[in-house]
């Protein structure tokens, strides 16, 4: 199962075709919005302190994408990677502007706390498992955490993550695997 593809949650024309059509008629962009706005929002929610910040940034990402349709180059990566590249820039800008209220490392954990609240699945996974992972995630360098976020919240493939963060797919795969192994070790230590 090692190199199996990530499950996709959409149907209809493929992303590249949608972008091509949208270049001629912006209304054709709509399937991409519905396909990705939840995933982009989830990613941005982990990079911002509040739901409303993530909502605003998500809107910004899609408006920017609409304005930059002609800049998309399919030889450089998938549409998903292109969109998340824009999202990553938006999040970076946001954090730069709100440095005083978004502390460098704590906001992500704070965001995770918010996200974990009211989860319908929350009872299925023991609270201490989540707490354990919170602590382990806090110990991770931000670039490793971001790979996790892009994989889990963004639903990107390893190759797409590589495009977004500017690394090869193989290097990204190794880093993601090492990060998961680190989290496994932390988990085993706290659940002997």
């Amino acid at each position: 199962m090692r190199n199996a593809t990530v499950t996709r949650e959409h149907e209809g024309p493929d992303d590249v075709e949608v972008v091509r059509r949208a270049g001629r008629d912006r209304a054709a962009f709509e399937p991409l919005y519905w396909r990705y706005h939840g995933r982009v929002y989830r990613y941005l929610r982990t990079r911002t302190p509040q739901d409303s910040d993530a909502a605003d940034l998500t809107q910004q990402v899609f408006l920017r994408a609409l304005d930059q349709l002609r800049q998309y180059d399919e030889t450089r990566g998938t549409v998903a990677a292109w969109l998340f590249g824009i999202a990553r820039h938006s999040a970076t800008d946001f954090r730069r502007k709100h440095r005083r209220i978004v502390s460098a490392e704590d906001d992500l954990l704070a965001s995770l706390g918010v996200i974990a609240a009211d989860s319908p699945e929350g009872e299925a996974i023991r609270r201490d498992e989540i707490q354990c992972l919170y602590h382990a995630l806090a110990a991770l360098p931000s670039e490793k955490r971001e790979i996790l976020v892009l994989r889990f919240a963004g639903g990107l493939t390893i190759a797409e993550i590589g495009v977004v963060i500017g690394k090869s797919a193989e290097a990204t795969r190794k880093q993601l695997r090492r990060t998961i192994q680190f989290l496994e070790e932390q988990y085993r230590d706290s659940h002997p």
């Binding site: 209304a27 919005y33 704070a110 299925a124 919240a153 496994e184």
Partner: protein
């Protein structure tokens, strides 16, 4: 093989163990399952309908300073529940906005009773509203409490208590333990802060028949702004949606009020920001009724209408 295995098959190599599964499943829970659904961005959808060379709309974060922004919906909703009556109408189904508004305005709440209503907001916040009605069926005490929580821990509280004309409010940020105390707030303050509600001159405009009276005035003044939309279900209950166009159209938000088809009380409201290039923009906001109970005054918990501000590093904010 579970859904987790299928979704994250690239993370399960030959060495994967039960611990791998637990870690991946927990990360999935943290990062995806528990994230609330994002709002739909009307501005993006509108931008898609514009010609390719149209200028992009500006994106602004919020119409209000944050503490006041949080107070306003609660205040308005408190007033809105003035239309939350016990009248059961046996007349034929209304066919116009005018008829629905009249029915809502005519609703009388039982004297010497209390109303408790809980609303959920677009950002997951919850507003609990208490109103006590005197012998004449008008509000004599009110209390609204808006709470934002994370992981079962309160992060922010907005609370207003008061009577017919004025309310005292505070905004408390639990994380920083900062208390923004607002001495008084009236509908006039609301009107200054939100141009879309400029028709509210004072709190008396809104008590009693509440929103319905406002709509009645609007109906007489600018009937073209008010529209009855097709009857629909809202959270499983049938409602009459009344749309009030912003004025000037396309520059101010459109508000849709959802009136219960039986009791004519407000089951929710949605504020849709204006669309179009160059228009200041925010996401669509809504408030939806979660529960609503009429109870005898004697059953109202003690202290319900006291402000009870929490201790904190107080910052006094007086709304001009």
């Amino acid at each position: 093989v579970t859904a987790i295995h299928e979704t994250y098959s690239d993370l399960f190599d030959d060495d994967a163990t039960e611990t791998t599964y637990r870690v991946v499943a927990t990360l999935d829970n943290i990062y995806t399952k528990a994230v609330p659904a994002p709002p739909v961005h009307e501005t993006v959808l509108a931008a898609m309908r514009q010609p390719a060379n149209a200028p992009s709309p500006h994106v602004h974060r919020s119409r209000f300073p944050r503490p006041l922004a949080a107070l306003i919906p609660a205040s308005l909703l408190l007033l809105s529940v003035g239309v939350a009556g016990s009248l059961r109408v046996s007349a034929p189904a209304p066919v116009s906005a005018d008829v629905i508004i009249q029915q809502a305005a005519a609703v009388q709440l039982p004297p010497n009773s209390a109303l408790q209503a809980v609303y959920r907001g677009s950002y997951g916040e919850r507003y609990t509203i208490w109103a006590e009605y005197g012998p004449r069926g008008t509000i004599i005490h009110s209390a609204t409490t808006g709470v934002q929580s994370a992981q079962g821990i309160t992060t922010e509280v907005n609370r207003c208590v008061g009577g017919r004309v004025k309310m005292r409010c505070y905004n408390y940020e639990a994380a920083s333990k900062v208390l923004h105390q607002v001495v008084t707030i009236t509908a006039a303050d609301v009107a200054k802060s939100d141009p879309s509600f400029r028709t509210f001159r004072n709190i008396d405009d809104l008590t009693g028949a509440g929103v319905a009276r406002l709509l009645t005035r609007l109906m007489h003044r600018t009937p073209a702004r008010i529209h009855l939309l097709p009857k629909r279900r809202l959270n499983g209950a049938w409602v009459y949606p009344i749309r009030v166009d912003g004025q000037p159209a396309g520059r101010q938000p459109t508000t849709i009020y959802y009136f219960d088809v039986h009791g004519y009380y407000l089951r929710g409201m949605v504020i849709v920001p204006p669309r179009g290039p160059g228009v200041a923009d925010t996401a669509t906001e809504y408030m939806l009724l979660v529960r609503r109970d009429m109870i005898p005054i004697t059953h109202v918990p003690a202290g319900t209408f006291k402000l009870h501000p929490p201790h904190g590093n107080q910052v006094l904010v007086v709304i001009p």
